[in-house]
Protein backbone atom coordinates (compact mmCIF):
# COMPACT_ATOMS: atom_id res chain seq x y z
CA UNK A 1 0.00 0.00 0.00
CA UNK A 2 2.85 2.32 0.98
CA UNK A 3 4.60 1.38 -2.25
CA UNK A 4 1.50 2.21 -4.25
CA UNK A 5 1.25 5.66 -2.62
CA UNK A 6 4.88 6.31 -3.51
CA UNK A 7 4.38 5.09 -7.08
CA UNK A 8 1.26 7.27 -7.46
CA UNK A 9 3.17 10.37 -6.33
CA UNK A 10 5.96 9.62 -8.81
CA UNK A 11 3.50 8.87 -11.62
CA UNK A 12 1.59 12.12 -11.02
CA UNK A 13 4.90 14.00 -11.24
CA UNK A 14 5.45 12.44 -14.69
CA UNK A 15 7.52 9.34 -13.93
CA UNK A 16 6.67 6.95 -16.78
CA UNK A 17 8.13 3.86 -15.15
CA UNK A 18 6.06 4.42 -11.98
CA UNK A 19 2.89 4.79 -14.07
CA UNK A 20 3.76 1.65 -16.06
CA UNK A 21 4.23 -0.30 -12.83
CA UNK A 22 0.87 0.91 -11.49
CA UNK A 23 -0.90 -0.03 -14.72
CA UNK A 24 0.87 -3.38 -14.81
CA UNK A 25 -0.11 -4.36 -11.27
CA UNK A 26 -3.74 -3.32 -11.82
CA UNK A 27 -4.11 -4.74 -15.33
CA UNK A 28 -5.64 -8.11 -14.45
CA UNK A 29 -7.93 -6.60 -11.81
CA UNK A 30 -9.15 -4.02 -14.33
CA UNK A 31 -9.69 -6.59 -17.09
CA UNK A 32 -11.61 -8.92 -14.75
CA UNK A 33 -13.85 -6.06 -13.63
CA UNK A 34 -14.55 -4.94 -17.19
CA UNK A 35 -15.23 -8.51 -18.31
CA UNK A 36 -17.79 -9.01 -15.55
CA UNK A 37 -19.35 -5.62 -16.23
CA UNK A 38 -19.69 -6.24 -19.98
CA UNK A 39 -19.82 -10.07 -20.22
CA UNK A 40 -18.24 -9.48 -23.61
CA UNK A 41 -14.61 -10.47 -24.23
CA UNK A 42 -13.74 -8.30 -27.28
CA UNK A 43 -15.44 -5.30 -25.67
CA UNK A 44 -13.65 -5.96 -22.35
CA UNK A 45 -10.26 -6.02 -24.11
CA UNK A 46 -11.11 -2.81 -25.94
CA UNK A 47 -12.38 -0.98 -22.85
CA UNK A 48 -9.39 -2.13 -20.76
CA UNK A 49 -7.02 -0.73 -23.39
CA UNK A 50 -8.96 2.53 -23.65
CA UNK A 51 -9.07 2.88 -19.86
CA UNK A 52 -5.30 2.55 -19.68
CA UNK A 53 -4.86 5.19 -22.40
CA UNK A 54 -7.23 7.56 -20.59
CA UNK A 55 -5.33 6.93 -17.33
CA UNK A 56 -2.05 7.86 -19.10
CA UNK A 57 -3.63 11.10 -20.37
CA UNK A 58 -5.20 12.08 -17.04
CA UNK A 59 -2.65 10.87 -14.49
CA UNK A 60 -1.48 14.43 -13.75
CA UNK A 61 -5.01 15.25 -12.54
CA UNK A 62 -5.23 12.21 -10.22
CA UNK A 63 -5.49 13.55 -6.65
CA UNK A 64 -5.09 10.22 -4.87
CA UNK A 65 -8.28 10.59 -2.84
CA UNK A 66 -9.36 7.10 -3.91
CA UNK A 67 -7.26 4.00 -4.57
CA UNK A 68 -5.65 3.77 -8.01
CA UNK A 69 -7.74 0.67 -8.79
CA UNK A 70 -10.93 2.59 -7.87
CA UNK A 71 -9.90 5.40 -10.21
CA UNK A 72 -9.34 2.90 -13.03
CA UNK A 73 -12.70 1.19 -12.58
CA UNK A 74 -14.39 4.60 -12.44
CA UNK A 75 -12.92 5.45 -15.87
CA UNK A 76 -13.80 1.98 -17.17
CA UNK A 77 -17.40 2.10 -15.86
CA UNK A 78 -18.08 5.43 -17.58
CA UNK A 79 -16.60 4.10 -20.82
CA UNK A 80 -18.81 0.99 -20.63
CA UNK A 81 -21.95 3.07 -20.02
CA UNK A 82 -21.05 5.39 -22.92
CA UNK A 83 -20.51 2.40 -25.21
CA UNK A 84 -23.75 0.77 -24.04
CA UNK A 85 -25.66 3.94 -24.99
CA UNK A 86 -24.06 3.91 -28.45
CA UNK A 87 -24.53 0.19 -29.08
CA UNK A 88 -28.07 -0.03 -27.74
CA UNK A 89 -29.24 -1.08 -31.18
CA UNK A 90 -26.65 -3.81 -31.52
CA UNK A 91 -28.48 -6.23 -29.22
CA UNK A 92 -27.75 -9.19 -31.45
CA UNK A 93 -24.01 -8.55 -31.27
CA UNK A 94 -24.24 -8.40 -27.46
CA UNK A 95 -26.14 -11.69 -27.39
CA UNK A 96 -23.46 -13.31 -29.57
CA UNK A 97 -20.75 -11.97 -27.24
CA UNK A 98 -22.55 -13.39 -24.20
CA UNK A 99 -22.82 -16.77 -25.96
CA UNK A 100 -19.08 -16.65 -26.70
CA UNK A 101 -18.08 -15.85 -23.09
CA UNK A 102 -20.50 -18.56 -21.89
CA UNK A 103 -18.83 -21.08 -24.20
CA UNK A 104 -15.30 -20.06 -23.18
CA UNK A 105 -16.12 -20.16 -19.47
CA UNK A 106 -17.85 -23.49 -19.88
CA UNK A 107 -14.64 -24.91 -21.34
CA UNK A 108 -12.59 -23.65 -18.41
CA UNK A 109 -15.03 -24.05 -15.51
CA UNK A 110 -16.84 -27.18 -16.73
CA UNK A 111 -20.13 -25.41 -16.08
CA UNK A 112 -21.90 -22.10 -16.65
CA UNK A 113 -23.59 -21.25 -13.35
CA UNK A 114 -27.13 -19.88 -13.52
CA UNK A 115 -25.90 -16.97 -11.37
CA UNK A 116 -23.67 -15.79 -14.24
CA UNK A 117 -26.46 -16.31 -16.77
CA UNK A 118 -28.73 -14.11 -14.63
CA UNK A 119 -26.01 -11.47 -14.24
CA UNK A 120 -25.39 -11.53 -18.00
CA UNK A 121 -29.10 -10.92 -18.51
CA UNK A 122 -28.95 -7.55 -16.69
CA UNK A 123 -28.28 -4.39 -18.67
CA UNK A 124 -24.97 -2.70 -17.87
CA UNK A 125 -26.76 0.21 -16.14
CA UNK A 126 -27.94 -2.29 -13.50
CA UNK A 127 -25.09 -4.80 -13.62
CA UNK A 128 -22.38 -2.21 -12.87
CA UNK A 129 -23.89 -0.82 -9.63
CA UNK A 130 -24.73 -4.35 -8.46
CA UNK A 131 -21.14 -5.51 -9.00
CA UNK A 132 -19.64 -2.40 -7.42
CA UNK A 133 -21.86 -2.64 -4.35
CA UNK A 134 -22.16 -6.34 -3.62
CA UNK A 135 -18.97 -7.77 -5.16
CA UNK A 136 -16.49 -4.91 -4.68
CA UNK A 137 -18.02 -3.46 -1.50
CA UNK A 138 -18.39 0.21 -2.50
CA UNK A 139 -21.06 2.29 -0.76
CA UNK A 140 -24.01 3.80 -2.64
CA UNK A 141 -22.47 7.29 -2.29
CA UNK A 142 -19.15 6.09 -3.70
CA UNK A 143 -20.91 4.43 -6.64
CA UNK A 144 -22.86 7.64 -7.28
CA UNK A 145 -19.56 9.54 -7.46
CA UNK A 146 -17.95 6.91 -9.65
CA UNK A 147 -20.80 6.80 -12.16
CA UNK A 148 -21.63 10.51 -11.86
CA UNK A 149 -25.30 9.86 -11.14
CA UNK A 150 -27.49 10.78 -8.12
CA UNK A 151 -27.38 8.47 -5.08
CA UNK A 152 -31.14 7.91 -5.46
CA UNK A 153 -30.59 6.55 -8.97
CA UNK A 154 -27.93 4.15 -7.64
CA UNK A 155 -30.37 2.98 -4.97
CA UNK A 156 -33.14 2.29 -7.46
CA UNK A 157 -30.79 0.52 -9.87
CA UNK A 158 -29.48 -1.69 -7.07
CA UNK A 159 -33.02 -2.49 -5.99
CA UNK A 160 -34.09 -3.33 -9.54
CA UNK A 161 -30.87 -5.29 -10.25
CA UNK A 162 -31.14 -7.49 -7.16
CA UNK A 163 -34.87 -8.02 -7.71
CA UNK A 164 -34.21 -9.13 -11.30
CA UNK A 165 -31.42 -11.49 -10.21
CA UNK A 166 -33.62 -13.04 -7.50
CA UNK A 167 -36.43 -13.53 -10.01
CA UNK A 168 -34.18 -15.17 -12.60
CA UNK A 169 -32.65 -17.54 -10.07
CA UNK A 170 -36.01 -18.41 -8.47
CA UNK A 171 -37.57 -19.08 -11.89
CA UNK A 172 -34.65 -21.34 -12.75
CA UNK A 173 -34.97 -23.22 -9.44
CA UNK A 174 -38.71 -23.70 -9.98
CA UNK A 175 -38.07 -24.93 -13.52
CA UNK A 176 -35.63 -27.50 -12.21
CA UNK A 177 -37.90 -28.63 -9.37
CA UNK A 178 -41.05 -28.66 -11.41
Amino acid sequence: MHDETKLIKQAVRGDERALSELLRSNYSFLYQYVLKATMNKPLAEDVTQETMLKAIERIAAFRGKAKFSTWLITIASRLIIDRARKTEREKKWLQDALRAIRFESLQRMDEWPEALEALGGLGSEHRIPVLLKYYYGYSQEEIADMLDIPAGTVKSRLHHGIKQLRKELTDHEEEQNG
Partner: protein
Protein backbone atom coordinates in the same frame (compact mmCIF):
# COMPACT_ATOMS: atom_id res chain seq x y z
CA UNK B 1 -32.16 0.67 10.75
CA UNK B 2 -34.57 -1.15 8.44
CA UNK B 3 -32.53 -0.03 5.43
CA UNK B 4 -29.35 -1.47 6.96
CA UNK B 5 -31.09 -4.76 7.60
CA UNK B 6 -32.30 -4.96 4.00
CA UNK B 7 -28.80 -4.10 2.76
CA UNK B 8 -27.31 -6.84 4.90
CA UNK B 9 -29.86 -9.39 3.69
CA UNK B 10 -29.25 -8.44 0.04
CA UNK B 11 -25.49 -8.68 0.60
CA UNK B 12 -25.83 -12.08 2.24
CA UNK B 13 -28.06 -13.34 -0.57
CA UNK B 14 -25.63 -12.03 -3.21
CA UNK B 15 -22.60 -13.65 -1.51
CA UNK B 16 -24.37 -17.00 -1.30
CA UNK B 17 -26.01 -17.08 -4.72
CA UNK B 18 -23.67 -15.09 -6.97
CA UNK B 19 -20.41 -14.33 -5.16
CA UNK B 20 -18.93 -17.82 -5.45
CA UNK B 21 -19.72 -18.07 -9.18
CA UNK B 22 -18.09 -14.67 -9.74
CA UNK B 23 -14.96 -15.74 -7.82
CA UNK B 24 -14.63 -18.75 -10.09
CA UNK B 25 -15.31 -16.63 -13.17
CA UNK B 26 -12.52 -14.24 -12.06
CA UNK B 27 -10.13 -17.10 -11.45
CA UNK B 28 -10.56 -18.62 -14.93
CA UNK B 29 -10.33 -15.25 -16.67
CA UNK B 30 -7.26 -14.01 -14.85
CA UNK B 31 -4.75 -12.33 -17.16
CA UNK B 32 -0.96 -12.53 -16.83
CA UNK B 33 0.80 -9.26 -16.03
CA UNK B 34 1.93 -7.50 -19.21
CA UNK B 35 5.63 -6.91 -19.81
CA UNK B 36 6.85 -3.79 -17.98
CA UNK B 37 8.99 -2.58 -20.91
CA UNK B 38 6.10 -2.91 -23.34
CA UNK B 39 3.89 -0.91 -20.98
CA UNK B 40 6.57 1.73 -20.58
CA UNK B 41 6.77 2.02 -24.36
CA UNK B 42 2.96 2.37 -24.54
CA UNK B 43 3.01 5.10 -21.86
CA UNK B 44 5.82 7.01 -23.62
CA UNK B 45 4.20 6.77 -27.07
CA UNK B 46 0.76 7.74 -25.82
CA UNK B 47 2.10 10.71 -23.85
CA UNK B 48 3.97 11.89 -26.95
CA UNK B 49 0.86 11.45 -29.10
CA UNK B 50 -1.33 13.29 -26.56
CA UNK B 51 1.16 16.19 -26.45
CA UNK B 52 1.24 16.36 -30.26
CA UNK B 53 -2.58 16.40 -30.38
CA UNK B 54 -2.72 19.16 -27.76
CA UNK B 55 -0.30 21.38 -29.73
CA UNK B 56 -2.23 20.71 -32.95
CA UNK B 57 -5.51 21.71 -31.30
CA UNK B 58 -3.93 24.78 -29.69
CA UNK B 59 -2.51 25.91 -33.05
CA UNK B 60 -5.90 25.41 -34.70
CA UNK B 61 -7.57 27.39 -31.90
CA UNK B 62 -5.19 30.35 -32.27
CA UNK B 63 -5.48 30.29 -36.06
CA UNK B 64 -9.30 30.35 -35.85
CA UNK B 65 -9.20 33.09 -33.18
CA UNK B 66 -6.93 35.26 -35.32
CA UNK B 67 -9.16 34.76 -38.40
CA UNK B 68 -12.29 35.69 -36.41
CA UNK B 69 -10.58 38.75 -34.89
CA UNK B 70 -9.36 40.07 -38.26
CA UNK B 71 -12.74 39.46 -39.90
CA UNK B 72 -14.45 41.37 -37.09
CA UNK B 73 -11.98 44.25 -37.30
CA UNK B 74 -12.45 44.41 -41.07
CA UNK B 75 -16.24 44.35 -40.68
CA UNK B 76 -16.14 47.06 -38.00
CA UNK B 77 -14.06 49.23 -40.30
CA UNK B 78 -16.25 48.72 -43.38
CA UNK B 79 -19.80 48.58 -41.94
CA UNK B 80 -20.80 49.28 -38.36
CA UNK B 81 -24.39 48.06 -38.95
CA UNK B 82 -23.11 44.81 -40.46
CA UNK B 83 -20.84 44.39 -37.44
CA UNK B 84 -23.77 44.91 -35.03
CA UNK B 85 -25.94 42.40 -36.95
CA UNK B 86 -23.20 39.74 -36.95
CA UNK B 87 -22.62 40.30 -33.21
CA UNK B 88 -26.34 39.92 -32.49
CA UNK B 89 -26.64 36.75 -34.60
CA UNK B 90 -23.56 35.22 -32.93
CA UNK B 91 -24.85 36.06 -29.45
CA UNK B 92 -28.24 34.50 -30.25
CA UNK B 93 -26.52 31.41 -31.69
CA UNK B 94 -24.33 31.04 -28.59
CA UNK B 95 -27.34 31.34 -26.25
CA UNK B 96 -29.31 28.82 -28.34
CA UNK B 97 -26.40 26.35 -28.44
CA UNK B 98 -25.82 26.62 -24.67
CA UNK B 99 -29.54 26.17 -24.01
CA UNK B 100 -29.79 23.06 -26.20
CA UNK B 101 -26.62 21.47 -24.75
CA UNK B 102 -27.67 22.22 -21.15
CA UNK B 103 -31.21 20.96 -21.86
CA UNK B 104 -29.91 17.70 -23.32
CA UNK B 105 -27.64 17.13 -20.30
CA UNK B 106 -30.49 17.77 -17.87
CA UNK B 107 -32.70 15.41 -19.91
CA UNK B 108 -30.08 12.65 -19.64
CA UNK B 109 -29.79 13.17 -15.85
CA UNK B 110 -33.56 12.95 -15.42
CA UNK B 111 -33.73 9.81 -17.54
CA UNK B 112 -31.00 8.13 -15.46
Amino acid sequence: MKKNKTDELDQQWFDEQIGAALNRFDAVHERPMPDLHELERLVQEHKREAKRKLWRELALFWLTAICVLFTMLWLLDSSRIGFAIVQAVLAAGAIGFTGITFGKRMGQKWKS
